[in-house]
């Protein structure tokens, strides 16, 4: 039976045009299937490691998932802000160890701007409790200092000392600019593989400063305060978008959460990042499963094509089969030959699909990094992916039973001399 594989390979090569198309179809569908699975895992890992060591995220009352998305991942926009005194009440609470206030709303050439305090550089953790580290320069000291994430600096080619201008709003192009108040890059952070990389960090005072002479989202015409005079004003923020909170005892998180939720006079929401992430995955899980099911369907379609092509070609191969029978092949052997051909094509398709996946990964990686801050790298196949591949091969072999059986019946009927 060992000679079947060599024979099947040569036979397949003989029909390489049609089978090649099938291999391509299977390869594309396998690439899709593995791609969906890998994107799923990479997204989860990327998201999960964006925040660490934070007990609660506090923001205006909205859905927990939405709060997570804009506070941690800078995706989407906040519906409302929280007042400064509400934030201070929380910061002063005896259960609280540290807080990081954040303010969102501006952008720079497509990258979100984050207003925050020095606490950000002290307390923010990501991944496996890793702190932020500067690759160059230092955190902001002056009002108009900015600290750039690694991706921002790399993509826009900025260095410490460069001047940048912020835009009002998030959207890319065509936004009004705070042109009269340029910022100086004081520091650049090391790469983290999280949304921090694509963020421009400034102080909360800076956010106040650039909006001093603005009213309701636009500059007041005929009235502007020059940059050098802003410091004369009180730059304490009136509102912030959200706050990251660290507690003295993690077990007290529920108590703190209730305190925030019940805070009088201000609709607030406090979420546990771990729980909100799980909720996000539950919601996204429906879409993920749908995508996976669809990709599986596509693979089945590809394999159905294989069956169709092989079945269609069987009639022409009756003489070939008769020759094999004459030489001593059994009808079961003919079945084995067809099955081996099917297995061969499926394996080839899977291998080609993996190669295509690699190509796709290399293509998509820079996009994922710059748009979402998710790191996508070419990796060895994970166990889950290998299992999927195994399933594909199994289905391919099972599908090959159809032409195999047909060939078996044909060989029995034809005997040594097919009536063609």
């Amino acid at each position: 039976m060992r000679h079947w594989f060599a024979l099947a390979a040569k036979s397949a090569w003989n029909r390489r045009l049609t089978l090649g198309l099938i291999v391509a179809a299977v390869a594309l569908s396998v690439m899709l299937l593995l791609g969906v699975e890998r994107a799923r895992r990479d997204a989860r890992e990327g998201f999960a490691q964006s925040v660490s060591g934070t007990d609660l995220i506090v923001g205006a009352r909205t859905s927990p998932v939405q709060l997570m998305l804009y506070a941690v991942f800078r995706i989407g926009e906040a519906t409302n802000n929280i007042r400064w005194d509400a934030y201070q009440a929380i910061a002063r609470h005896p259960l609280v160890a540290w807080t990081i206030p954040i303010s969102l709303g501006d952008s720079h050439r497509g990258f979100p701007v984050l207003g925050t305090s020095a606490a950000y550089f002290d307390h923010f953790r990501y991944g496996d409790s890793r702190p932020l580290a500067l690759a160059a320069g230092k955190p902001f000291a002056d009002v108009f200092d900015a600290v750039l994430g690694a991706e921002v600096a790399e993509q826009l080619g900025y260095r410490v000392g460069d001047r940048i201008v912020l835009s009002h709003g998030i959207g890319g192009i065509g936004l009004p600019e705070h042109a009269d108040k340029p910022f100086t890059v004081s520091g650049i952070l090391q790469r983290t593989g999280t949304p921090v990389d694509r963020t421009v960090h400034v102080s909360l005072e800076a956010i106040q400063a650039i909006h001093l002479d603005w009213q309701g989202g636009a500059p007041v015409p005929g009235f502007s305060i020059p940059a050098q005079f802003v410091r004369k004003f009180d730059l304490t923020p009136k509102e912030i978008t959200a706050a990251l909170v660290g507690l003295k005892s993690r077990a007290a998180v529920f108590k703190m959460q209730r305190y925030v939720d019940d805070y009088p006079g201000e609709p607030l929401l406090a979420v546990l990042p771990g729980v909100a992430l799980d909720e996000l995955w539950q919601v996204v899980g429906v879409a993920e499963n749908t995508l996976l099911a669809l990709s599986a369907m596509v693979v089945v379609v590809g394999l159905a094509g294989l069956v169709a092509v092989v079945l269609a070609g069987l009639n022409e191969r009756r003489r070939e089969i008769a020759v094999l029978r004459a030489v001593g092949a059994s009808a079961r052997g003919v079945f084995a030959l067809l099955m081996t051909e099917g297995l061969f094509v499926t394996l080839l398709g899977c291998a080609a699909g993996v190669v295509l996946l690699l190509g796709l990964t290399l293509l998509v990686a820079p996009l994922a990094q710059s748009r979402y801050g998710i790191t996508v790298q070419p990796r060895l196949l994970s166990l889950a992916e290998l299992r999927l591949l195994g399933l594909v091969v199994l289905v391919g072999v099972a599908a090959s039973v159809v032409p195999g059986y047909r060939a078996y019946r044909l060989s029995l009927a034809d005997g040594l001399t097919p009536r063609l």
Binding site: H3, K10, S11, W13, N14, R319, E320, V323, L324, R325, A326, V327, G328, A329, S330, A331, R332, G333, G415, L416, T417
Partner: protein, 240 residues
């Protein structure tokens, strides 16, 4: 020289075959035998039941009744895989055309017989390796070395038939069955082919059952017989 007849390698007794129950049988043979090394010309035009006979002798068709003994082995009761193995080990087959696997080379086609029969492979290998034996055999059949690695589809009909003959003969099977092997060749090539085939069969010690509708070729054979004289069935007469 030991006196006495060589052993019978084929013995059919009261063998009856019909395609489906209720139909007229297409083969009804009270007795048929061939001896080892015998060269038998069997006259049988298409429709005479010769394909059925070949199928039965090859172990692909199982008669409804009777006995089919090849080399002393009763084929009728044997399982399909056993019959297939038997055919691979002891019988070489040549057909009128399309004898070869199109995507294999001439040499690979010849060696196909060894792939399916360990016995024939060993017998061929004993003469210096299966490949060498195949090459030698092809040389005897007037196929020069340049043709050995050529794909079967690139060979002329005459060359294809000779490759088929080489495959039927490699490993020296006891019985070679040739079904109209020369019918697709022109007259000149027919004679050459027949001569080569007979010579190699003698060399290999194989019996040859040569089926054809061209009686002129019968001259070279030990025995000539008509299929209608072997079988009682009326299929031939009806088809005529």
């Amino acid at each position: 020289m030991v006196s006495g007849m060589p052993p019978a390698i084929v013995e059919l007794t009261e063998t009856l075959y019909r395609w489906s129950p209720g139909e007229t049988p297409c083969l009804d043979i009270p007795a048929f035998a061939m001896r080892a090394g015998e060269r038998l010309f069997l006259y049988g035009p298409s429709g005479s039941g010769k394909s059925t006979l070949l199928g039965v002798l090859g172990g692909v068709l199982v008669p409804e009744r009777g006995s089919v003994r090849v080399l002393g082995n009763e084929l009728r009761g044997a399982s399909a895989p056993a019959r297939d193995r038997f055919r691979a080990d002891h019988v070489g087959l040549i057909f009128q055309q399309f004898n070869l696997i199109p995507y294999l080379s001439a040499l690979e086609n010849v060696l196909l017989a060894c792939r399916f029969s360990r016995r024939r492979e060993e017998r061929a290998a004993g003469e210096g390796g299966a490949r060498a034996a195949a090459a030698r055999l092809m040389h005897h059949l007037d196929l020069e070395p340049a043709l050995h690695s050529r794909l079967a589809t690139r060979l002329s009909v005459g060359q294809q038939q000779r490759v088929a003959a080489a495959r039927a003969l490699i490993g020296r099977p006891e019985l070679v069955i040739a079904d109209e092997p020369t019918s697709a060749l022109d007259a000149e090539r027919q004679a050459i082919f027949l001569e080569l085939l007979l010579r190699e069969c003698t060399q290999a010690g194989s019996a040859l059952l040569f089926v054809s509708h061209d009686r002129r070729l019968a001259r070279a054979f030990d025995r000539e017989t008509d299929i209608s004289s072997i079988t009682r069935s009326n299929a031939y007469r009806e088809a005529a």
